[in-house]
């Protein structure tokens, strides 16, 4: 079917095609963005009301000796999506004459549980060999940050823990 189409008419047809395809693209883009925005919110934005953990009574710190960190364990509530769960949590507590410090239980490198190595008086993470001093500073190993610390409040002999605050930067 080879019909002869005058040049003028052909030009008009192609202009019209251009207009139509632009309209189709615009409407399509409108639909995709109208679905896309709530989708991005849904997938990549935090849920509302995921209340952070409140202060927890972690235990009695009067018996903790200086220079010997002690691991305190306690139960806390955790909001997990549509569920509220209780879970076991812990903190490494260090006391000296002036103050009490509570380190979060996870190695700042990749989240393994570390422990107090009595033979060398250092914290040791068994996963990748990071070592930390009693005040949390990195001695050796891959960790780029010192140990994270809990927000703390001491009431009498009781230690109350808040959020774990991420420690900053590298320091040795």
């Amino acid at each position: 079917m080879s019909l002869e189409i005058p040049v003028e008419q052909e030009k008009r047809i192609f202009e019209r095609r251009g207009f139509i395809s632009a309209t189709i693209s615009t409407l399509g883009a409108a639909i995709i963005s109208a679905i896309g925005v709530p989708t991005c919110l849904y997938l990549f934005f935090p849920a509302r009301n995921q209340r952070r953990n409140q202060w927890v009574d972690a235990g009695d710190v009067s018996q903790i000796g200086e220079k010997t960190p002690q691991q305190l364990t306690f139960r806390q509530f955790r909001r997990d999506g549509w569920k509220v769960q209780t879970e076991q949590a812990s903190a490494w507590v260090v006391k000296n004459a002036k103050q009490v410090t509570a380190f979060g239980p996870a190695c700042p490198h990749l989240g393994c549980a570390y422990h107090w190595d009595k033979s060398r008086d250092e914290f040791l993470c068994p996963c990748h060999g990071s070592r930390f001093s009693i005040d949390g500073k990195v001695l050796t190993g891959p960790s780029a940050r010192p140990l994270d610390r809990y927000e703390i409040q001491v009431e009498g002999t009781r230690l109350w823990l808040g959020q774990v605050r991420q420690s900053k930067g590298s320091q040795t």
Partner: protein
């Protein structure tokens, strides 16, 4: 730039053939008479994609077990960013799908487009219609609220009425011994695994057949003047899709999709009603009683589907203009009138119950608690009981968790405890009076911690209104949600009996509105009055 773009498309096309296939698809020849009536198939396909997409998103935050489905859906609606919108799109998209599929079918039917050689296309379409209805039926259960539970109890009972196969269908849906975990798993699997797979395959077959036989030409089409799908028809399809989507988007954004109370198998007062597009079947059911019931519930619907499937084999005439097809027009008109009448009858005979979006206030759990408890929530907050007590979640606090078990302390002990704010605020004597103290105690006697926590999210206005109600001693004469005395009328359902103006005038001068009443006049501030009437009108109808 343009040449390099062309080089890329050429590179891709030589290796995959995708671009030339798309071009062939877009340049399909269609009859010159095609136009707006032919857009519905594309819109239905688009809506299926929307349903699949939003369905997948919902599944990412949804726990498909009867225990958790409801709370995870509440989580989606109330807490996940954009969750209410996604759920709205999915919920209203389902209804819109039914509308568009039926319009598509009507168009094909009126144009006689099912005729030879397109019988198989029509049959695939009928199967797709059944699948769409299957999606509606199975998806209805998944929120696991009262509506879902009781609706499914009825439908699975109906399945059981099918002659010969009823027992097996019921067994397949896991509903032999009632609706429960097994039914839920079966419906969920059907909804997200089996039906989507079947629908995808059938859509592929359906579209393939449309392509194979071409779009049905009208009587005015002679075979020489054909046009291509792109651009004009493509534009019409996209415009139709855009209009449909705009309506859907607006509905999702403005009309809250229903979510009632958690499924309660012991709720003797719940009156289940199916989704609007099944109401005509529900109404048909009422015409058949006793042993004849399966005729209305199973036999008639089956025969209707069979009749629809047989249409291409019964009508073997020539293609004619739509307006000349008197019988087809008559059949459609009859169908529309019948459907509308049955649906209207079903709507009119449905007693008003749960205060679904009455006065713009949606039905929530807190609609069902007594005014005392609701007021108690307010006192719990005002007295800052939460400083020392948890209701369910949160780190341990000084006082015991009040949600885990009802307190065993004697009432007198509690009153003293409330009065001195648990001893926490020496010198700050509690300003609660005896009524308010009783109310607080009532609230704390509730057993279910989840419910208590959700009560903390009740709108402040409603709590204030409940406190006004309690303070005025309304429950000395009236009942609300089964709490209170019988001297005056029950206030649930006030909205369906009286207008706002009437209630307001009645407060000011009861004798003028209902002579002989023993109700004394009440003079509220206009703000209090508005709150109180809002609250009373939000109560579920009993």
């Amino acid at each position: 730039m343009r040449t390099s773009a062309r080089a890329v498309t050429q590179w891709i096309d030589r290796r995959t053939g995708l671009i030339s296939s798309a071009r062939t698809f877009l340049n399909e020849e269609i009859p010159a008479s095609s136009g707006w009536p032919q857009v519905f198939g594309s819109v239905a396909l688009f809506l299926f994609l929307v349903q699949a997409f939003t369905g997948i998103l919902l599944a990412l935050n949804y726990a498909p077990t009867p225990g958790e489905a409801y709370s995870s859906l509440r989580f989606i609606i109330n807490e996940v960013s954009g969750g209410r919108m996604i759920r709205g799109l999915h919920h209203w998209g389902a209804s819109m799908m039914i509308v568009v599929v039926v319009l598509h079918m009507l168009q094909v039917f009126l144009y006689g487009a099912y005729r030879k050689p397109r019988e198989a296309t029509w049959l695939a379409g009928i199967a797709l219609l059944l699948l769409v209805l299957g999606f509606g039926l199975t998806g209805y259960l998944l929120p696991w609220d009262n509506r879902a539970y009781w609706g499914t109890v009825v439908t699975t009972q109906i399945m059981g009425q099918a002659p010969f196969i009823g027992k097996y269908v019921q067994r397949f849906t896991g509903a032999e011994n009632g609706v429960g975990a097994v039914t839920f798993a079966r419906f969920y699997s059907l909804h997200v695994l089996i039906l989507p797979a079947a629908t995808t395959l059938l859509i592929a077959l359906h579209v393939y057949l449309v392509r194979r036989h071409g779009v049905t030409p009208g009587p005015s089409d002679n075979r020489t003047t054909r046009k291509t799908f792109y651009p004009q028809q493509a534009l019409k399809d996209v415009v139709a899709i855009f209009v449909a989507f705009s309506v859907l988007f607006l509905m999702a954004a403005t009309v809250q999709a229903p979510l009632e109370r958690l499924a309660d198998p012991s709720d003797a007062e719940y009156i289940p009603r199916p989704e609007w597009y099944f109401l005509f079947l529900f109404q048909t059911l009422k015409f058949f009683e006793g042993a004849l019931e399966p005729i209305g519930s199973v036999v008639l619907p089956t025969l209707t589907v069979l009749l629809l499937a047989l249409v291409p084999f019964l009508d073997r005439g020539q293609i004619r203009r739509v307006w000349d097809r008197k019988i087809a027009m008559g059949a459609v008109a009859l169908g529309i009138v019948g459907w509308t009448a049955l649906t209207a009858a079903a709507v009119l005979t449905t007693p008003k119950q749960a205060s679904q979006s009455l006065a713009g206030i949606s039905s929530q759990e807190w609609n069902y608690v007594s005014p005392d408890e609701l007021a108690g929530v307010g006192y719990f907050k005002r007295q800052q009981c939460g400083k020392c007590h948890n209701l369910v979640e949160g780190a341990p606090k000084a006082g015991p968790n009040l949600g885990l078990a009802a307190s065993t302390k004697p009432e007198a002990w509690k009153m003293t405890h409330f009065k001195n704010n648990g001893g926490m605020s020496a010198g700050h004597a509690s300003e609660l009076n005896s009524v308010e103290l009783r109310v607080l105690s009532t609230f704390l006697q509730r057993g279910a911690p989840e419910e208590m926590v959700s009560l903390l999210d009740v709108p402040e206005e409603m709590i204030t209104a409940a406190q006004i109600y309690v303070r005025q001693g309304c429950s000395n004469c009236h009942k609300v949600n089964d709490a209170g005395q019988d001297a005056g009328p029950v206030l649930n359902g006030l909205m369906s009996r009286r207008s706002r103006e009437w209630v307001e005038k009645h407060f000011a001068d009861p004798q003028a509105m209902s002579p002989g009443t023993s109700m004394p006049p009440y003079h509220f501030s206009s703000a209090d009055q508005k709150l109180l009437v809002d609250y009373l009108f939000s109560l579920p109808v009993r």
